[in-house]
Amino acid sequence: MRTEEEIRRSLRDWIVKSNGKIRPEEVGDQTPIIEQRIISSLQVMDLIFFLEQLSGAPIEVDDLKPGVFRDIDTIYQNFFHEYQA
């Protein structure tokens, strides 16, 4: 089982790699990745696929609520928190 820190680091690494321009220190836990278009619309499906791999649980796209991908904090809360508890 990964620690919270490892999950957050994986998320940050994925965001930095997907963006291609941004530096890791520019992506904080509350940096709005969608609003600032750090992650583009085309990358959202990749993000969902990545989260499925990282959490080991399928994600039903139709069930996703607004705001779940806002930043690393909300992604962690929505897709990983319960597995860590």
């Binding site: 609003e35 600032q36 278009r37 959202v44 996703l64 607004p66 991908f69």
Partner: protein, 287 residues
């Protein structure tokens, strides 16, 4: 209330989704637009008047043709060669169904304005903004739809927009301010309007990642009259237009947002809620 358009004086309707206004309806149109302009002056918005066409090359920078092919209306002309024009003029230009029998056409490079605010991003291309910029325009907009309904859904309609380009915070403050402003107005005239998150009318939405993104991170809030008709909207574009047109603010791609009012739909809401008689409508000049 259901509007009986046959009894509505000053109104004309064409089945191709266009309306004609005169008399008290045209006066209401102007009063509504004056109200929107008054709101635009509250942020010292500069006024613009744009031409009806937008370059297809510019629109394609927004991926418009992939996102909204079902809405677009092209401006088309005949190839101007003597022989082509002669062929067109001397054959039967119109068939029995009213369809123009076009001969060879010039390359299509222009689109009829689909949304008023696009003109601004093209206009401000490659500008570096020293401060937030507030602008407003009213445009005839053209969107082909599957069906049309008087004042509610038209091929051509009038849209007034107030737009802000700036930092994310400047734009979000602007949108929040106007949502409060417009909401106070709805309450003051007791018009039943609620705010609801919405998405743009993408073609084939389930296959469009932009649609998914708008669902996950709503950027459009509509003013919904009686739970059924959007008479306006507040839109946060993030830095989408800033990136597409290289507009910058404080060294980064500018953010933008707009408040949009569909004037014919406002008229519809007034007629439906207050009735057909001018004397029953709220006095907008004293708002």
């Amino acid at each position: 209330m259901v509007i009986d358009f046959n009894k509505l004086s000053g109104f004309g309707w064409s089945d191709n989704g266009q309306s004609t206004l005169s008399g008290s309806l045209l006066a209401l149109f102007h009063r509504l637009d004056r109200l929107f302009l008054k709101w635009a002056r509250e942020c010292q918005a500069d006024q613009y008047r744009f031409p009806p066409f937008i370059s297809a090359r510019e629109l394609s920078k927004l991926d418009y043709f992939r996102s909204f092919p079902h809405l677009v209306t092209f401006a088309t002309t005949l190839d101007s060669s003597e022989e082509n024009l002669k062929e067109f003029a001397e054959s039967e230009p119109l068939n029995i169904a009213g369809e123009v029998q076009l001969t060879r056409q010039s390359p299509v490079k222009e689109v009829l304005t689909p949304a008023a605010c696009y003109h601004f991003y093209i206009r401000f291309e490659r500008e570096s903004l020293a401060s937030a910029r507030y602008v407003t325009t009213r445009a005839n907009c053209y969107r082909r739809e599957a069906y049309y309904s008087p004042l509610e859904r038209q091929w051509s309609f009038s849209m007034r927009e107030i737009v802000c380009l700036g930092t994310a915070e400047e734009v979000k403050d602007f949108l929040a301010r106007y949502q409060t402003r417009v909401d106070q107005f709805f309450k003051s005239i007791e018009l039943p309007v609620e705010w609801k998150n919405a998405t743009d009318p993408f073609f084939n939405p389930s296959r469009n990642p932009k649609y998914l993104l708008q669902k996950l991170d709503p950027v459009k809030t509509e003013m919904i009259f009686e739970d059924r008709l959007a008479i306006g909207s507040i839109n946060f574009h993030r830095n989408y237009f800033g990136e597409a047109f290289e507009i910058s603010r404080e060294g980064r791609e500018a953010f933008s947002g707009c408040v949009a009012f569909g004037i014919e739909r406002w008229i519809y809401a007034f007629l439906s809620h207050y009735g057909l008689s001018e004397t029953d409508w709220p006095d907008l000049d004293y708002e």
